[in-house]
């Protein structure tokens, strides 16, 4: 994982609460089997709107997203983090994050920095007053600087340490392989195993076919 100590880049004000991961990347874009190349899928539905913040030239090359509360709710898709990173974002600032999104960010070197909502409001105003303003996010000092605004942010100590060091979780865990093996020795016999497979007898499944007449009344397109 890429280490994160400090980053300076253009701030992008996203004045919306409850930005769920279906908005960050709609499900139709989750079919790829690669980990890169998701930049065009970020906020795909909203980017069709010319007024959307990332369609404004001053913000288009932004790398610090400043969002409303409850960012990243819903689906566990890590693709949301990949899409933000592939677009060029290195940090997201918000007053509340969904747990799974926060966890996924920490694994991928995207900083999810939790600020007070009052500070988010101040930063939004500063960015909108002067589009293209840069924000510095300092993980060492746990501090965000945007023009005159200096705000501290929260992040748990362990995630901060891993981000600062750029450490790979799996490598860290495998240092304790002996303890995992010892734990496995102690597991009760009743705990289930998927192999050998047990199931009810196999039965042929009949394939459903399309109905001949399309019957839904679709609302007119505006």
């Amino acid at each position: 994982m890429e280490a994160f100590t400090t980053h300076t880049g253009i701030g992008v004000p996203l004045r919306r609460s409850n930005v769920d991961t279906d908005q960050i990347i709609p499900a139709v874009y989750l079919k790829r089997v690669t980990r890169t190349g998701f930049e065009d899928t970020l906020f795909a539905a909203w980017r069709g709107n010319p007024d959307f913040v990332l369609n404004q030239p001053a913000y288009a090359s932004g790398s610090v997203l400043v969002a409303g509360p409850d960012f990243g709710t819903g689906s566990s898709r890590e693709h949301a983090v990949w899409a933000l990173k592939d677009y060029g974002f290195r940090a997201v600032l918000a007053s509340r994050f969904a747990d799974i999104f926060r966890g996924n960010s920490g694994k991928q070197g995207l900083l999810a920095a939790q600020l007070a909502q009052a500070d988010i409001e101040l930063i939004w105003k500063a960015l909108e007053a002067s589009p293209g303003t840069e924000i510095t996010v300092d993980l060492v000092k746990r501090e965000v600087v945007c023009g005159d605004i200096v705000a501290s942010f929260q992040i748990d100590d362990y995630t901060r340490w891993r981000l600062l060091e750029g450490l790979d979780d799996i490598g860290l865990t495998l240092n304790h392989a002996d303890e995992i093996a010892a734990f496995e020795e102690s597991r009760a016999a009743w705990r289930p195993k998927t192999l050998p497979a047990k199931h009810l007898p196999p039965v042929a499944i009949k394939a459903a076919r399309p109905v001949s007449v399309p019957i839904h009344s679709q609302a007119p397109l505006s």
Binding site: D20, K198, A208
Partner: protein, 474 residues
């Protein structure tokens, strides 16, 4: 020391305690895998030369992308076909059991685990899917993870995790007829909000929960994530043991006795303390529907679309304005007047046998409204087979509904089952996010009973509305 259910299960899985702010290393008993969030994890293993540590604790199914029509033909969408083929290749390469399209045990991963008897009390269960919280209905600690964590579990069968906080959600009273587990959970989410559960494991308890069947308990735990919670749990009891006994992977003989003895200890001690508590009374609970674009934006069916000007909180007011505009609704209009285009019955929330039986009972002998298309998608192939054995498929077909093959389908529209822009659905699924069921689609989350009544009348309705209509006609 006194402990909550969640703390007990956590404690029994600590491989290594974390010190100085470091997380605990937790053992994972069951890892469920599907095609969407796993390809990059298997690729990571391949690049690092790592095997799957415990293929015998891992199970893969195909569900998110799978078509619900023509499943005996090649999948038409090339990217879906590639993703599913990638899962099959990975399962073969790493020795993971897989239930593929056309197999009787294929289906939504959260329906398949319980029906095989793999989901049990006291387990840790993870899957790269936020609705893994479903399995908490058995008293398992079950939660969704991202792809990096999927790779971590595949490689180590463990996860480093900071302890969750605990929230007791006590639901007293008895559900009135016409209201269901879905209405309980929608009411809870409306009460605590989409962020109310962040950082918490919710434990549902109280009289209304104890009297629920296992399938209804799964509906409740399933949507814990919609309140922001990592997991939801219900203490196991005789209902749980009865459900499990005799299932393919349920313990047998002495193992069963030992398991039940342990499972009976899995309840929060009377003197255990929760970090916070929420109380709800089920006795006066009406059918709930959502009007907005997050699952917390729900109201009783008898209510009206909110009027944003009357909402004091600025953030909530803006969110309501945006949601009402997106949903194409009129502030102050009765929810019962909302006409829908599509009714979707299915998903890991409400795609099990009891859901299909409840719908069939209401629609039997009736015809759907002409203006509505009705999609019935069983949660698993076994659910489909069972429904057909009970003759429910014919009830749905006679009603004018489409009877499909199993999968996630229109819950998230990764397969061809999607809404078109501005098309409106009443859906038994779990998320009403913008575009969730298809770009520009408008989703109202409802219970199976409301879905059935809505399919008959064409507007958001409860079964009680049908009786009113019947008596008015006679």
């Amino acid at each position: 020391m006194a402990g909550t259910l969640a703390e007990k299960v956590w404690h029994d899985h600590v491989v290594r305690e974390g010190h100085d702010g470091a997380p605990d290393l937790l053992y994972i008993d069951l890892h469920l895998v599907h095609e969407v969030t796993s390809p990059q994890a298997f690729e990571g293993l391949r690049l690092a030369g790592r095997p799957v540590r415990r293929p015998d604790l891992t199970l893969a199914t195909e569900d998110h992308n799978t078509p619900t029509l023509d499943i005996d033909r090649p999948i038409a969408d090339e990217t879906s076909r590639t993703q599913i083929q990638t899962l099959r290749n990975n399962a073969a390469e790493f020795g993971v059991r897989i239930h593929s399209l056309g197999d009787a045990d294929q289906g939504i991963v959260h329906v398949v685990g319980p029906q095989l008897g793999l989901t049990m009390p006291g387990l840790t269960v993870v899957c790269g899917d936020s609705h893994t919280s479903t399995h908490g209905a058995f008293g398992a600690l079950a939660f969704g993870i991202g792809t990096s964590e999927v790779e971590h579990v595949l490689a180590t069968q463990t996860l480093p995790l900071a302890p969750f906080k605990t929230m007791a959600v006590t639901v007293d009273g008895t559900l009135p007829p016409g209201s269901t587990a879905k209405d309980i959970i929608l009411a809870i989410i409306a009460k605590i909000g989409t962020g109310g559960g962040q950082g918490y494991v919710l434990e549902y308890r109280g009289e209304a929960i104890r009297t629920l069947s296992m399938e209804a308990r799964m509906t409740i735990c399933n949507m814990s994530i919609e309140a922001g919670a990592r997991a939801g749990m219900i203490a196991p009891d005789e209902t749980t043991f009865e459900y499990l006994k005799g299932r393919p992977h349920a313990p047998e003989g002495e193992d069963w006795d030992a398991a039940v003895e342990y499972w009976k200890t899995l309840r929060s001690d009377d003197d255990a303390t929760f970090d916070t508590e929420v109380v709800l009374n089920a006795s006066d609970l009406e059918p709930f529907v959502t009007w907005g674009t997050n699952p917390g934006q729900g109201l009783p069916l008898s209510a009206s679309v909110p009027v944003p000007e009357l909402i004091a909180d600025e953030t909530e007011r803006h969110a309501a304005e945006r949601a009402i505009e997106y949903m194409g609704l009129t502030p102050g209009a009765p929810l019962r007047d909302i006409a829908v285009d599509t009714v979707f019955i299915g998903s890991c929330t409400n795609g099990r046998m009891e859901d299909l039986r409840a719908v069939a009972e209401i629609i039997k002998g009736k015809k759907k409204a002409d203006s509505v298309r009705v999609l019935v998608v069983p949660g698993s192939a076994r659910v489909r087979l069972q429904a057909e054995a009970e003759g429910l498929d014919q009830v749905f077909l006679d009603f004018g509904a489409e009877w499909r093959n199993a999968g996630c389908s229109m819950c998230l529209g990764m397969n061809p089952d999607q809404l078109v822009p501005q098309e409106r659905s009443a859906s038994t699924s779990n998320r009403n996010f913008e575009g969730r069921q298809g770009r520009g689609g408008r989703t109202h989350l409802v219970s199976p009973l409301v879905a059935a009544a809505t399919a008959i009348r064409g507007t958001l309705s409860s079964p009680a509305d049908l009786q009113t209509a019947d008596s008015a006609a006679s």
